[in-house]
């Protein structure tokens, strides 16, 4: 049983609600154990099965958490456990500890809490050090619920704080950390810093430094203290601390609070303190600290009196020349110097610096030096590029690099080879001198971003993190990405990175669930305008808005309208929190956790970001319906179309086919009514006539049996889609016609050989000329010893495609003998196109993702289309109908399709519609297939 409890504990931890009904059993078991019902050999020092008790108490704690009803059941047994555990042996303390833990975890009951509190007293006051430790640990936990308890034991706590054993000290600090408020923060932080100075253990430093930084940010009584504490944190924590700490600190400094004056003072103080720190000779500071310093000096030195930039630059120059400074830090410093140059345009030090680094071996530094040099020559530009105190203005970073689309398209038009990702290039081992390297890099990132973001790929985490880390890298390495944006600072780069991060995550989570594109219902709603005119209106507008956004700003791609709603809610919730905690720096208490605040900031910026995007890209479209009427109307139309298309597609081919079937049926009927003319043999997939067999209108009565045969044959194969019967060759005696049947596993060619004469044909021989492109599963030759007069024989060949091609003839001949005459030979040929061998591949989005990554061959092409078909659903419908591709999923203006070439060469297509263009992107395991398919797609789209 002891073993099974561990399993229960784990399961309950994961999903407590599913096991609530077991509470009674656990309580009974515990009661029996506590009551001494177990055999004596389970006792350990006369305590019955203590480890079992501990395990059960843990389980009850998990079950009773925030659940008054379940907790009710456990009160009795907990009380009993507390009572029974006579404090005779260590193990009873272990049980008591667990008991207290449980009592404070479950729905509280005052009596029990009181008893538990008394128990803790026994622990903490115990002279045994192990028990003291346990007591502190319990107290740490309990204090979160009931801070008053700390007052009772304050003397003990103070004692423990100066205890020689570091672990006791550490636990006490942990406890203090939980009870910190604005009044006691400076004392507690001081104690923590003391401990920090003694400690060498890296893990302890990391966790303590994080806690100090958090407390300092939350409860700082004044600016001076805050900056001093952070200085201590940075110099002790150095390079091991979590990178969030300096980043948050800088953000706090940059974003400031409500009070402009207060901000200025804080910044000024920071600048002054850093200058004085740099004043000290031979002092060693961790790299991170230097980075923080250089950023702050670069941004806020202007707050000092005039004439100082020169001094600051000299200081920074000194740092740059320091051997121990890493190149990353140098980049930060360089950025700071660049910012300062504006204030001291004729600085000699800057000149010296430029000269020195223009010949530096470090290419990064050299680049910065040249950038600085050129900036210095153009003061106006520099003013625009490096505005003062604008570090927290939001930048719209187009992470998808969509602004390069035009460039890429141009390149493609001029015959440049489409970009191939690195792994493919390696695989093919082709020398691709044509591909320009810049383009490579940008497209790589671009495509990767889009794809990892849009499709729920299985190895998503991996690829995602790699992209993120790379972007993080750039952010770090060039804090002054001057060429990139107007505001150059590590902070903004970092913010941008975060934004992208969260954007992408949300996009993935909410738009593409396991079951595919989630907001399907929404589309359906859009499809029935009569039913919900009001709701639909707003949905549509928002949808359109959302679509438009996507078109121009792939970054905002993932903001579905529900998400926008959520964000509005979140920001309205979190903004309040954020400002509150910001105020708290000035001395007010609050309980908002650090993380919350951070989140809110990100949300806030993101929201602002979205608004900007709205303004720029769809100035007239606002989700809140102050939309000009005609625009609204027009877009409604588009959306309506889109809606229908989407619904059709998402409902799968079934609906679509049946729809079309009825359509074409009606059409047929009409045509037949109008005239008895022969229907011209329709092209293969046009209007889906393959669903219905319309026999070629008989003109010769002798064909009657042929027709009956064909129809019977085709009835057999009714479940398969097939073409019309086409006459291949004939003479006065014989007629050969053929019919293609598109079976799922192969192309079935049916040859119908009709004997029109009244004579018997002997040893008729049908032979197909083998070609390398086709693989015919049966023997290509076929022989009928005899064909009776006026009868028809059918021969079937299963054909597979060996090598992709666009169109290819399959030729053959037929030989026969009439009585004893010599052989007569008739040649025929039938044209097979690639489309005869393409079948829809029914896979789900996830599989698509997996496959997509596994294929190396890809082809990308932008196809210009007329406005009417610029919308995605239309394009998808066309492809589904005419090429028989399976629509895997649709998201906004992107769709994914899959098909395979018989026998089993898969090919995937990603399709994105934007502004009269459709970007097609094929991937396949076969190198030539994408090209052929692309050709077919282009043809189909031009036709339609």
């Amino acid at each position: 049983m002891a073993a099974s409890l561990h399993i229960y504990l784990r399961m309950i931890k994961e999903n407590p609600s599913a096991y609530k009904d077991l509470t009674g059993s656990f309580v009974t078991i515990l009661k029996q154990i506590v009551g001494g019902k177990l055999p004596v050999d389970f006792n350990y020092h006369s305590v019955p099965a203590p480890w079992l008790q501990i395990q059960l108490l843990r389980i009850l704690g998990l079950l009773g958490k925030d659940d008054p009803r379940t907790s009710e059941l456990t009160y009795d047994v907990l009380d009993e456990s507390l009572r029974r555990a006579e404090l005779s042996h260590n193990i009873t303390y272990a049980i008591l500890f667990e008991c207290v833990h449980t009592i404070y975890t479950i729905y509280p009951k005052p009596e029990l809490l009181e008893k538990a509190a008394r128990c803790i007293g026994k622990f903490v006051l115990s002279p045994k050090i192990n028990l003291k430790y346990l007591g502190l640990k319990a107290l740490t936990y309990v204090i979160q619920q009931d801070p008053n308890l700390a007052l009772q034991h304050q003397m003990t706590i103070i004692e423990c704080l100066d205890h020689p054993d570091p672990i006791i000290k550490r636990e006490t600090l942990e406890l203090l950390y939980r009870i910190t408020n604005a009044q006691n923060v400076s004392v507690i932080v001081q104690k923590m810093l003391e401990y920090l100075h003694q400690s060498k253990e890296e893990y302890i430093i990391i966790s303590l430094v994080g806690k100090i930084a958090e407390l300092a940010e939350k409860y700082a009584p004044d600016n001076e203290w805050f900056i001093q504490t952070m200085n201590a944190v940075f110099s002790v924590g150095g390079d091991v601390m979590h990178p969030d700490i300096p980043n948050n600190f800088l953000r706090l400094l940059a974003e400031g609070f409500d009070d402009e004056n207060e901000d200025k003072q804080l910044r000024l103080y920071a600048v002054q303190s850093y200058l004085s720190l740099l004043e000290i000779e031979n002092a060693f500071y961790p790299q991170r600290f230097l980075q923080v310093m250089s950023w702050v000096l670069g941004e806020y030195s202007y707050l000092l009196d005039k004439g100082t930039p020169e001094i600051v630059i000299t200081k920074l120059y000194g740092l740059l020349m320091n051997k121990s400074t890493t190149s990353e830090t140098k980049a930060w410093i360089m950025a700071a110097v660049t910012k300062l140059t504006l204030q001291a345009p004729s600085s000699k030090t800057v000149e010296k610096l430029i000269q020195e680094f223009s010949v530096s071996l470090d290419t990064c530094m050299r680049q910065h030096a040249f950038e600085l040099k050129h900036l210095r020559e153009n003061v106006e530009l520099m003013k625009n590029l490096l505005p003062i105190d604008k570090s927290c203005e939001d930048l719209v970073v187009d992470a998808s690099l969509s602004f390069l689309d035009g460039f890429v398209a141009e390149g493609l038009d001029q015959g440049a080879a489409p970009y191939k990702p690195h792994h493919q290039r390696q695989e093919e081992k082709l020398s691709q001198g044509k591909v320009t390297s810049v383009w490579c890099a940008t497209m790589d990132v671009y495509l990767y971003f889009r794809f990892t973001a849009v499709l729920n790929f299985e190895p998503y985490g991996l690829s995602f993190s790699s992209t993120m880390s790379s972007s993080g890298c750039t952010g770090r390495q060039s804090p002054a990405g001057i060429s990139l944006s107007s505001d150059v600072s590590g902070n903004s780069a970092e913010t941008g990175q975060k934004e992208i991060n969260s954007l992408k995550l949300e996009g993935v989570k909410k738009l593409w669930g396991k079951e595919g594109y989630l907001p399907k219902k929404e589309n359906k709603a859009g499809n029935n305008p009569e039913l919900q005119p009001v709701a639909q209106d707003s949905t549509l507008v928002e949808n359109v808005d959302h679509m438009m956004l996507k078109k121009d700003q792939p970054q905002a791609l993932h903001h579905s309208e529900e998400e926008a709603e959520k964000q509005r809610l979140a920001s309205s919730l979190f903004v309040g929190l954020g400002s509150e905690s910001a105020v708290s720096l000035l001395g007010k208490t609050d309980t908002v956790s650090h993380k919350f605040r951070r989140k809110s900031k990100v949300n806030g910026t993101k929201n602002r970001e979205v608004t900007i995007a709205h303004n720029i890209n769809c100035s007239s479209f606002n989700p809140l319906s102050n939309v000009p009427y005609e625009n609204n109307d027009h877009l409604n139309n588009i959306q309506n179309k889109g809606g229908t298309g989407l619904k059709k597609c998402s409902l799968g081919s079934e609906v679509l086919e049946s729809d079309l079937k009825s359509e074409s049926l009606a059409e047929l009927h009409l045509v037949e009514n109008l005239s008895a003319c022969n229907l011209s043999p329709p092209s293969l997939f046009e209007d889906n006539s393959m669903e219905i067999f319309h026999p070629p209108h008989p003109t010769l009565s002798s064909f009657a049996n042929e027709i009956s045969l064909t129809s019977s044959l085709l009835e057999e194969l009714n479940e398969h889609v097939h073409s019309d019967v086409v006459e291949l060759c004939n003479n006065e005696i014989l007629k050969v016609s053929s019919c293609k049947i598109w079976r799922d596993d192969c192309l079935l060619l049916v040859w119908l050989v009709a004997n029109k004469s009244s004579l018997e044909l002997k040893s008729m021989n049908l032979e197909i000329t083998p070609t390398e492109n086709f693989k015919i599963l049966e023997h290509p030759g076929f022989c009928f010893p005899i064909i009776e007069a006026e009868s028809t024989k059918s021969i079937q060949h299963h054909v597979h495609m060996e090598k992709p091609f666009t169109e290819e003839g399959l030729s053959g001949y037929i030989k026969y003998q009439v009585e004893e005459d010599p052989y007569i030979q008739l040649d025929f040929s039938v044209t097979l196109s690639l489309l005869d061998f393409i079948r829809p591949m029914k896979i789900c989005t996830e599989d698509f993702g997996k496959l997509w990554l596994s294929f190396a061959n890809d082809v990308k092409q932008n196809v210009k289309v007329s406005d009417s078909q610029a919308n995605l659903p239309f394009a998808l419908k066309t492809l589904q109908q005419k090429l028989r591709l399976h629509i895997v999923d649709i998201i906004g203006n992107e769709g994914i399709l899959a098909c395979y070439l018989l026998p089993s060469v898969p090919c995937l297509l990603h399709l994105r519609a934007h502004e009269g263009m459709v970007a097609l992107w094929f991937r396949s395991s076969c190198s030539s297939l994408p090209d052929y398919l692309l050709y077919q797609c282009q043809k189909v789209m031009e036709e339609s």
Partner: protein, 144 residues
């Protein structure tokens, strides 16, 4: 959860080691050396629990032999502390007055005992009679 169970003597020689989380072989030696160093440097008045990296060590000294258990934050330190004693009591019962030599020369049996008591890092059996039952049967088999 228990991460590892070590028996090390004062000279720093590992007598028994059992890992419930994967640790590379070469890292084990480093870890064991480091762990015994930390334990040896502590006095009797100091706490038997040590914070070590991101987990905790619980140790107990029996003559020249240290038993050190690495646990994560979900485990109850005192329970593990007493569990070590329970383990030693079981050894004592089986070997009747267990010594370091007993452990050295009957390592297989010590392992059997430990495996009876700890499974996948969880304490599953503490009843001495039950722990020893399979071992006694094995012994009987070996005799006959």
């Amino acid at each position: 959860m228990i991460k590892f169970f070590l028996m090390v003597n004062k000279q720093g020689q590992t007598r028994l080691s059992r890992y419930y989380e994967h640790v590379e072989i070469n890292k084990r030696t480093i870890l064991e050396a480091d762990v015994i160093k930390t334990c040896l440097s502590r006095s009797k008045e100091q706490c038997s629990f040590i914070e070590y990296k991101d987990f905790k060590l619980i140790y107990r000294q029996y003559a020249a032999l240290f038993i050190v258990v690495g646990i994560n934050e979900t485990e109850n330190e005192m329970a593990v502390y007493e569990f070590i004693h329970n383990f030693v009591e079981v050894l004592d019962m089986y070997f009747s007055r267990v010594s370091e030599l007993d452990i050295m020369f009957n390592l297989d049996k010590v392992h059997i005992i430990l495996d009876e008591m700890v499974l996948n890092g969880c304490i599953v059996e503490t009843n001495k009679a039950r722990i020893l039952a399979p071992l006694l049967i094995l012994d009987k088999m070996a005799e006959s």
